[in-house]
């Protein structure tokens, strides 16, 4: 049996042809275009100013870690990261809770105006955030929520709702109705049916859209720029990085800037490598609406 199984397997191997070689060259070039700038940033965080402004292709002369410390304390990267984690955590949690509640009701219950409410939510997808920017500032100020994380979280939730409701409503519609009906007949309340039966059943969809929202809110730049402008201690990472970049020009602390960039990129990279399959399918399903 043994030779019979190995022989076809060898046949299965791709014959390295010229075209295959050229494919590899093209793919490798694009991979390098992505890796080199990131690697350069990472290495530059260990360099000193002379090395950074010397030959860009040179490796750092010594492993200097002080710039990482400076970035963490003096440039407040630690603070910015904590702020971002808090805002994104509550923002995404709120989005998922309220988004799935609204989506479920709109997908599975017939009531007067249900189509209208659904389209009311989905209409939000058509508007560019820029259109709302000025008035949004004044609305948030009226509630006294300017320069506060609570305000930013509420705004994040509100702006994530259209897509979340749109996506999850479609998902809830694909789930079988029989299980929920059985639960209701057995005397479970509507609320209990939702949280104990429907949410576990909708897990794959919920995971995709959670990843989509985490990434979207983690990378948000425009909303915090407008809504947190007056409170630098509450800033999120994206704002902080932009500010550090401006400051690095005045203080000539370039290693600090690249250390700050590395600190921002590394956790994202780790999370990405762990969850890359789910992230790719999550974002992909987002685009294939």
């Amino acid at each position: 049996m043994a030779p019979r199984t190995t022989a076809p397997r060898r046949m299965d191997r791709p014959r390295p042809g010229v075209l295959s070689g050229l494919s590899h060259v093209a793919l490798a070039v694009w991979a390098l275009l992505i890796i080199v700038p990131l690697l350069w940033t990472f290495l530059a965080s260990f360099k000193n100013n002379t090395e950074i402004f010397g030959d860009p292709l040179q490796l750092p002369g010594a492993l200097r870690l002080d710039s990482w410390g400076r970035a963490w304390d003096k440039a407040h990267i630690g603070q910015y990261m904590l702020n971002t984690v808090i805002v994104v955590f509550f923002g995404t949690a709120g989005t998922m809770l309220f988004g799935s509640m609204a989506a479920y009701v709109l997908a599975r219950y017939r009531f007067v105006g249900s189509r209208l409410v659904y389209y009311y939510f989905v209409a939000g997808l058509a508007f560019p955030v820029f259109l709302a920017l000025g008035p949004l500032f004044f609305v948030v100020r009226q509630f006294g929520l300017l320069n506060s994380h609570v305000g930013l979280v509420l705004v994040y939730i509100a702006y994530s709702l259209p897509f979340t409701v749109f996506f999850l409503a479609a998902f809830f519609r694909t789930l079988p109705a029989a299980v929920a009906e059985a639960a209701l007949i057995d005397g479970a309340s509507h609320t209990r049916t939702f949280f104990q039966i429907m949410v576990p059943m909708a897990r794959p969809g919920l995971v995709s859209i959670t990843i989509f929202n985490v990434l979207g809110q983690w990378n948000q730049y425009l909303l915090p720029l407008v809504l947190l402008a007056g409170a630098p201690d509450k800033w999120v990472l994206t704002q902080g990085i932009a500010r550090i970049s401006t400051m690095a020009g005045y203080e000539a602390d370039w290693p600090g800037l690249f250390a700050a960039l590395s600190i921002t990129i590394l956790p994202v990279m780790v999370v990405y490598i762990i969850f890359q399959r789910q992230i790719q399918s999550g974002l992909g399903s987002g685009a294939l609406k």
């Binding site: 295959s20 560019p128 709302a132 609320t191």
Partner: protein, 304 residues
Amino acid sequence: MERLRKYGFVAGFLAVPLTLYTVFVISPYAQAFQLSLTSWNGYSSIVRYVGLDNFGRLFGDEVFWRALRNHGILLLALPLTTIVIALFLAFLLNLGGGTRGAGMRGVWGSGFYRVVFFFPQVLAVAVVGVLFQAVYRPDEDGVINGVLARFGVAPVGWLTEPDLALWSIIAVMVWQAVGFYVVLFSAGMAAIPKDYFEAAALDGANRVRLFFSITLPLLRDTVQVGWIYLGIAAFDGFALIQVLAGEKGEPDGATTILPITIYNTAFSYQKVGYASAMGVALFFLTVTFAVLTLRTTRRERVEL
């Protein structure tokens, strides 16, 4: 009783999301349309209605037209470049690995390439902007110029040459976006039945022919979705341009796009009414873009 219980539940579940959405999303949009008809400056208590004057002023505003022109370039160049590169890479990843019998397969290491290509997509645009400031530095300390200097090429002002700056920025957007569309198109290609390729390969079609005669027509819908997404992403280019080119769209407005102009008009020059008019114009442009794309790319569908 049961009916009442149902309606209570529906109302309870919708109350919070609807309130949040109405207060923070719909009401600002509605106000933007209303403010676009005023000359409000953001703080005075008197709101004066000026009718369509703001829109009339837009026609004579040089900054607006330059922003619009840059926007047009972005709107064409970004989707076109990204989709061409992504299609090419996705095809290589999925079908570049030579023929096995009559079947097609991906290249060796396609999983690794996919992971690398997609990574820029998860980086915040602000981070990417700061990163490329170093890459694009105009003196020979920049990453690109340093490499060019090795070959004796004088440093290029990637972000300071007015003719070059917008293209440098578009290149960054392409750099970030391609991986996402590689994954998107790969998924589309994986959905094409293998028999099609095998049959065509048996009939003697080469790889180029396979791509243009089978892959591309069957990916039509996916490519169309990608085009609209990139078009909308072009409208969101604010963060990158703000970080990379500065608030005014340096050099000398060469990289100004509409969102930058709106932000400055509202928050730097305090002309909230006028900025809202620009926002409304931007909204109609977005809708026109989406409708036009759907119209012009619609053809009879190829059913699988």
